[in-house]
């Protein structure tokens, strides 16, 4: 069953990778080995521009989500009583459940109304897409950091406070370093979420801010495309290299293995 499950997950991806080296114009008819479609991809300026847009939006989204998400996680874990706390927690988890189409539509309506009332944000572009992505990924980032913060031993902070450190110093010298792994994984998670989103971006993007998933989506709707095969192969290889490096680091940190795997698990539980 395990083998079947993994075959189900990986065979389709391997088919794409194999076909990306196909010379034929027809995606599934094998002629002979070539890098033709990689060259075509490198010259596809629409794709490259969109990829650059996506990269900018994803970096911006990840950074802002981590900043606000850390504050939100501290608010939820550390301040047990403030006005409207249940409401705040509810709003924080709602975007996880809301369908993308609804979030995208409602944000677009907001931007339209705001433009009518305040004259801002006017034209839709990178900023509106980033705002939409931050709103979505904020929930995920907060969940990840929150779970790390909950299990963190607060006695060190209290000791530091007792020894006369100012709260701000404690925050930067103790709290932030001890949740740094969660902040990192929150950043990566929100980067990936933003880089992967097509529905929100389709609603709130302007003509100048087409993202890579939007281009990929429209080319898939046109039918099979060899360039997408080439792109898949590139993405999967980059990812495999990253995971291999991560695996190597974990393997060679010896004793830390059990510790690290617990962290990894916590990270996923945070995701769930």
């Amino acid at each position: 069953m395990l083998l079947f499950g993994y075959a189900f997950m990986y065979v389709p991806l391997f088919c794409i990778i194999a076909l990306s080296f196909n010379d034929s114009k027809f995606v599934t008819a094998w002629s002979h080995f070539s890098f033709k479609w990689y060259k075509a991809l490198a010259q596809n300026s629409i794709m490259l521009d969109a990829a650059l847009n996506s990269l900018k939006i994803a970096c911006f989204t990840a950074t802002i989500s981590v900043l606000i998400g850390t504050l939100a996680a501290i608010a939820i874990v550390r301040f047990k009583r403030f006005k409207g706390r249940p409401f705040f927690v509810g709003m924080m988890t709602a975007p996880l459940i809301m369908p993308d189409v609804v979030v995208g539509l409602s944000l677009l309506l907001l931007f339209v109304s705001m433009t009518n009332l305040l004259g801002w944000p006017g034209e839709h572009g990178i900023l509106t897409v980033a705002i939409a992505h931050i709103t979505l990924s904020l929930s995920y980032v907060t969940a990840v950091i929150q779970s790390r913060l909950t299990e963190m031993d607060s006695s060190i902070e209290e000791a530091a406070l007792d020894l006369g450190a100012t709260p701000i110093k404690v925050f930067f010298a103790i709290t932030i370093p001890s949740i740094s792994s969660a902040i990192m994984s929150g950043w990566i998670l929100s980067f990936v979420l933003s880089f992967d989103d097509v529905v929100l971006a389709s609603f709130v993007s302007g003509p100048q801010s087409t993202t890579l998933p939007m281009v990929v989506f429209s080319s898939i709707r046109m039918g099979l495309s060899p360039q997408i095969n080439a792109m898949t192969t590139i993405i999967v290889s980059i990812l495999t290299v990253c995971v291999a490096i991560a695996g190597y680091v974990i393997y060679h940190s010896g004793k830390k293995i059990s510790n690290r795997s617990r962290q990894e698990k916590k990270r996923w539980q945070g995701l769930m």
């Binding site: 599934t28 369908p99 109304s113 902070e157 709260p167 898949t232």
Partner: protein
Amino acid sequence: MPTKKVNTWKFHFRGSSLIVGVPYLWLLVFFLCPCLILLKISFADSVLQIPPYSNILKWINDSAAQLTLNFANYRLLLTDDLYVRTFTTSIVIAANSAFACLLIGYPMAYAIVRSRPKIRMILLMLIVLPFWTSFLIRVYSWVILLAPTGLINKALMYLGIIDQPLKLMGNYCAVAVGIIYTYLPFMVLPIYSSLEKIDNSVVEAAYDLGCTPIKAFFSVILPLSMRGVATGFSLVFMPAIGEYVMPEILGDASTVTIGRIVWNEFFTNLSWPVASALSVMMIIFVAIPVMLWYGGQQIRLNKKLNIHEKV
């Protein structure tokens, strides 16, 4: 021994209003506000102007305003056969896909928990890996397999089983396959973590008391992992209902789901009020029940923790 935590932070930290305020404000402006605007526009009329909806609030004179709520959109959704059918088929597809995910995912999670610790890490990584690749690409990989000129049809024709390509794509089944494929990690991981938490001595006790492995599974392991199953089920079921991309790529004109209908009403028919009303219905029928259920779970969990602390 439960220790009582003293919340020193609250008293020491002066920036607390900033810490709570910034995320709170963000959510109010970019989450609550959009939902209210959605609700407002769902009561408006479709008109030919920019933006294409009427204002439901009209000033009669300087001091009084008149609020006209137009329920026509909702009446349309509840009576028109197309929308009702779309709602039910979307829910049926989502439920079927979540169930199929469970059937594939539970044995996988179980096998991973049973495997040796060193291999377990690698197996888990392999589960998470596709989650980081683009989901569009994963859906596209099924187009390559299922298309009329796709690999499955090619293979079947090569083997001489069929002479005409089968229509594998463009039906609800293909949409379900796409959903199962993309959301499988969301099913495996919560089940895995709930299975991992089970104390092995409980299972051994069941064996000592004469349980067969099958009976031990159904009377001990399965009930103890129900929380993971429920989480996994809702993580697949929820997003699957509003799915737009999968039906668009793997389906055809006949596979209409709620996500697609909202999209079409908005972008093609330019009927913003109907799209808004559909979204509001989705929130009422899908999101709110799940949130309440999650809230209930949380309260129940807290109760259990309190009982444990008292014991």
